[in-house]
C-alpha cells in the first residue's frame, strides 16, 4: 500500500460518509443512539490519538520530551489560548528539552 493509495482511499471514504448524510431520511436522527455514538467515537479516537502520540513509539512506550510538552498544551488550552499558539508552544517545549539533551 503506497502513501498515494492511502490518501485517495481515505479521502474517498470521508467524502462518501458526508454524502451518505444527505441521502438518508431525516428521521434517522429521531433515534438518539446513532448521533451519540458518532460523537463519542470522535472523542474516543481523538483521546486515544493523544495518548499514542504522546507515549507511543511504534510498538513501544517511550516517556520523553513529548510528555512535558503535552502538559504545557493542556494547561494552555485550559487558559483558552488559541489553537495555533498552543501547538507552537508545545513543539517549542519539546524542542528546547531535546536541545538540553533529554528526551
Amino acid at each position: 500500500m503506497t502513501l498515494w493509495l492511502i490518501v485517495i482511499v481515505a479521502s474517498l471514504a470521508c467524502l462518501s460518509l458526508k454524502l451518505v448524510g444527505y441521502l438518508v431520511p431525516h428521521d434517522v436522527l429521531d433515534a438518539p443512539a446513532p448521533s451519540r455514538i458518532a460523537n463519542l467515537l470522535t472523542v474516543a479516537l481523538l483521546s486515544a490519538l493523544v495518548a499514542v502520540q504522546t507515549l507511543g513509539a511504534g510498538s513501544a512506550l517511550h516517556f520523553d520530551a513529548r510528555v512535558p510538552a503535552l502538559i504545557v498544551a493542556v494547561v494552555l488550552f485550559a487558559l483558552r489560548v488559541p489553537f495555533v499558539l498552543v501547538v507552537i508552544l508545545a513543539a517549542a517545549t519539546a524542542a528546547l528539552i531535546r536541545l538540553s539533551g533529554w528526551g
Binding site: 502513501l3 460518509l17 448524510g21 448521533s35 483521546s47 486515544a48 511504534g58 501547538v87
Partner: protein, 248 residues
C-alpha cells in the same frame, strides 16, 4: 425566530450580517490550524502534493490529523488502520449531513457541494443562526472561508514542514499530540465524554505494546460504541457540534 413578523423583517439584514461575521471568524480560526496540519503531514512522510490533495478531497481536519498521526507512528504498513481511523472520525460529518440536508435544499449538484463542505465548522455556524435564510448564509460563508483558508494554510504548512527538516528536533511529534488535545478539548464538557476520553486513552496505551501500530486507536473506539449504545454516564442534552472556536 421567536420575534414577531415586523421585528423579524427589520432585523433580517442584521441577522444575515451576523451569520456572515460568524462564518468568517470560524473560517479564519480553522484556516490558522491548517498550518500545523501541513507541517505535521510532511513530517510524517507525506509529500506536498499528498498533503494538499487530502485537504482538498477529504476536507475534514480531525480525519486528516488522524491519518497523518497513525502514519507518523506506524509508517505505510499502518495504512489500513490509518484509513479506518480517518473514516471513523468522518462518521460525524454524515450525522451533520442528515441535519443540514433540509436547511441547504436545492438541486442535487448543490447538495453534493454542500456535503463536501459539511464539517464541524459549517454545521456549528449554520445551526446557531435564527432564521432559515441566515442558516444558509452562515453555512455557505463558513464553507467558503474554511475551504479557501484550510487549503491555502495546508500548503503553507507543508512548505514550512519541508523546510524544517528533522521533525523531532523541532518538537513536531509533540505538536501532533497538542493538536489532538485542541480538537478534543471543546468536546470534554459532560461526564459521558470525559469518561469515554479517559477510558479510550488508557486502552490505547495498554494495547500499544501488543498490537500493530494504529490498531490500539481503533480498539479504543469500542468504548464509545458501548457507552453510546447503552447510554452509560448519560448527559442531559449534549450539543450537536461542540465548537469552542466560534468566537463571533
Amino acid at each position: 425566530m421567536d420575534s414577531d413578523d415586523a421585528l423579524e423583517c427589520s432585523d433580517d439584514s442584521g441577522v444575515a450580517r451576523a451569520a456572515v461575521r460568524a462564518g468568517l471568524a470560524v473560517g479564519l480560526a480553522a484556516a490558522a490550524y491548517g498550518v500545523s496540519y501541513g507541517a505535521l503531514a510532511v513530517a510524517a512522510g507525506f509529500d506536498i502534493w499528498q498533503t494538499c490533495v487530502m485537504s482538498l478531497l477529504m476536507f475534514t481536519g480531525g480525519s486528516q490529523f488522524a491519518l497523518v498521526g497513525v502514519i507518523a507512528t506506524g509508517g505505510v504498513a499502518a495504512g489500513p488502520t490509518a484509513i479506518a481511523s480517518a473514516a471513523i472520525l468522518g462518521i460525524r460529518n454524515g450525522i451533520y449531513g442528515v441535519r443540514m440536508a433540509p436547511i441547504v435544499g436545492g438541486p442535487w449538484w448543490k447538495r453534493i457541494v454542500a456535503a463536501w463542505v459539511t464539517i464541524d465548522e459549517t454545521t456549528a455556524v449554520a445551526t446557531n443562526q435564527p432564521t432559515l435564510r441566515s442558516q444558509r448564509i452562515g453555512f455557505w460563508t463558513t464553507a467558503a472561508a474554511t475551504f479557501i483558508g484550510w487549503n491555502l494554510t495546508s500548503l503553507i504548512g507543508a512548505l514550512i514542514g519541508d523546510a524544517l527538516g528533522d521533525p523531532r528536533a523541532w518538537g513536531l511529534d509533540a505538536a501532533a499530540a497538542a493538536a489532538f488535545v485542541g480538537l478534543l478539548w471543546p468536546r470534554l464538557r459532560q461526564l459521558q465524554t470525559i469518561a469515554v476520553a479517559s477510558a479510550a486513552a488508557v486502552i490505547a496505551i495498554v494495547f500499544t505494546p501488543v498490537l500493530i501500530p494504529g490498531l490500539p486507536v481503533l480498539v479504543a473506539g469500542v468504548v464509545a460504541v458501548l457507552v453510546g449504545a447503552f447510554n452509560w454516564c448519560a448527559n442531559s442534552d449534549p450539543p450537536l457540534v461542540p465548537l469552542e472556536r466560534e468566537g463571533a
